[in-house]
């Protein structure tokens, strides 16, 4: 029997309606979520009068580059220095998290020891504690050792692990075949070497995901830097932008340029790695 390839494949009518409705709905939700970001982006290229004009101009006409240029020449908003600070802060935290949390996750996911599940349960319980609860004693501790005003209190705790990332990495570590580790033990590798040379290469994707999550979290972190840092030159972008906006409330165009400059690295990062982000979200059951 031959098939007429010119014949149109039958599609159930209900499926067409469902697809149209689904994509239409999703498009509407996307627009709602993107609207503030679009407003911020176009406002960076307008002056104050154009920003508050009625009716709203949905595209800047003319496109004004003045505030974008001014962003990098202001003494009260050292945006490039703060960008470097943010990169250092986010990068170091990402490395710290990947190192410490993967070690803890290896122990919870790949090693058998008495009380393992209890300790893991207690670790996960730490997720239930809001940061504000432990903030004061922790701050007093860092203050006592004279390290406030530096990045040490913001970064050092991540070298001791983070409950969320430990939980996330453990899920990936559980998927590594036990036989690989057994083979390495028979080959004479120590547990540290097994973690480093055998297991970590199997969960590279997970490490990248955890690193990305840590970068995004740290890039947007506001409360910690606000508490521990005092000098504008030391601020990360999130805090620097807030400080600028609170002191120069009328310079809307410049504020929007700063906000755009702060948000853009994360948007680019997300666009480049969105598959990994999605995988991370589905693995942890977050949304």
């Amino acid at each position: 029997m031959t098939v007429d390839i010119a014949a149109k494949r039958r599609t159930a009518p209900r499926r067409i309606w469902q697809t149209t409705l689904y994509h239409g709905g999703m498009l509407l939700i996307c627009c709602i979520f993107l609207l503030p970001f679009y407003w911020m982006a176009i406002s960076a290229f307008k002056n104050n009068a154009e920003i508050f004009a009625n009716p709203v101009a949905w595209f800047p006409d003319p496109i004004r580059w003045e505030s974008v240029g001014a962003l990098f020449s202001r003494d009260d908003f050292p945006v490039l220095q703060q960008f470097v600070n943010s990169c250092f802060y986010a990068g170091t935290v990402a490395l710290a998290v990947c190192f410490s949390c993967s070690l803890a996750a290896y122990s919870f996911g790949c090693l058998r020891w008495r009380g393992r599940n209890l300790v893991f349960g207690l670790t996960v319980c730490a997720l239930l504690l809001p940061g504000i609860v432990t903030f004061l004693p922790v701050y007093l501790g860092w203050s006592a050792v004279g390290l406030t005003g530096t990045y040490v209190p913001l970064i050092a705790p991540f070298f001791l692990g983070d409950a969320f990332f430990i939980f996330m990495l453990r899920q990936f570590f559980l998927g590594v075949p036990r036989e690989l580790m057994d083979a390495a033990r028979l080959d004479g590798a120590s547990e540290f070497r097994i973690w480093w040379q055998i297991v970590l290469p199997q969960v590279r994707t997970a490490l990248v995901i955890v690193g990305l999550f840590a970068i995004v979290y740290t890039w947007n972190e506001f409360f910690g830097p606000l508490i521990y840092l005092q000098d504008r030159e030391d601020f990360p972008l999130s805090l620097g932008l807030f400080t600028f906006q609170s002191t120069r409330a009328r310079e809307w165009s410049l504020s929007m340029s700063g906000a755009l400059f702060t948000a853009l690295p994360m948007v680019i990062l997300f666009l480049l790695t969105q598959r990994l982000f999605q995988r991370g979200l589905t693995t942890t059951g977050l949304k």
Partner: protein, 359 residues
Amino acid sequence: MGAVTLEGVRKLFGTLEVIKGIDLTIADRELVVFVGPSGCGKSTLLRMIAGLEDVDYGTITIAGRDVTEAAPATRGVAMVFQNYALYPHMTAYDNLAYGLRRAGLPRADIDQRVRDTARMLQITDLLARRPKAMSGGQRQRVAIGRAIVRQPQVFLFDEPLSNLDASLRVEMRSQIARLHRELAATMIFVTHDQVEAMTLADRIVVLNGGRVEQVGRPREVYHAPANLFVAGFIGSPAMNLLPARAEAGALVLALGPRLDWPRIDQNGPARPQGPVTLGLRPDRLALAAPGQGAFGGEVVLAEHLGDGSVLHIRTDAATTLTVKVTGDVVARVGDKVGLTADLRGACLFGPDGNLMFTA
């Protein structure tokens, strides 16, 4: 030398005892196969010998050295895993060399050993490939190579052929047998495949519920199973086990027929008391015309294997018997048949389930 001795070895997972006191001696250069149903503890026992599971009670000795507390790498053993366990991010060369590097061997020695092993297993062409670029059989050869290259005293195989297709399994089986001859090393092989056990083993260890049911040469285990469990487990299709009562010079089966068996002597040493069980291999039953022979019944299932057929026959007493017939015997489901029994090679099990004697 690579003799392995287990004395009173026990293993508990929590309160569940999975290995219940095993005493076993495996001679140097012997190939011993552990067989048993799923969950009987054969893989756990192998892992205990490898040092991958702790021994809760008893001792394990390899080559005269107590290794019960020793680390896996210092026991002089190498293991081949069911799923190969090749390091996916390393080439075959690096997989083979990894253990040697950990042992601190000079680079030239490592290269020499890896290439010698690759030549022996004909995997030289694969040395630059990663596992994902190899077929199942190639991966298995690399996994065996990784064990050989360390020159251990004892090789441990944990169901290494179960992931291969039937023809490749036969090929690898013969390769392992060849390696055993060439390397002259002690090998312990875990399988649930009776054909592998029967063809490879110098001796078979039948395990059940964490205990050793029988240790013996393959023919011995097949022809003189120590008890009802071994009789039912070894052999495919399984032995027919028929409840019976012993009389002088004969057996009266619960199915009805009376079979003459002169060896049964009610006054002699082989004097069965109480209910006994007759064990008959399926090839010791033969078809006869309906109404003739010791039993009668109906064919309820016919499995045609090409060179022969296995018939499942429900007897008039509602017991199902398995009969192995040659390929030229034609029988269909629903056919009424008679059955004759040849008691040569039959086994008689006493009331405690242990073998009393064979015909």
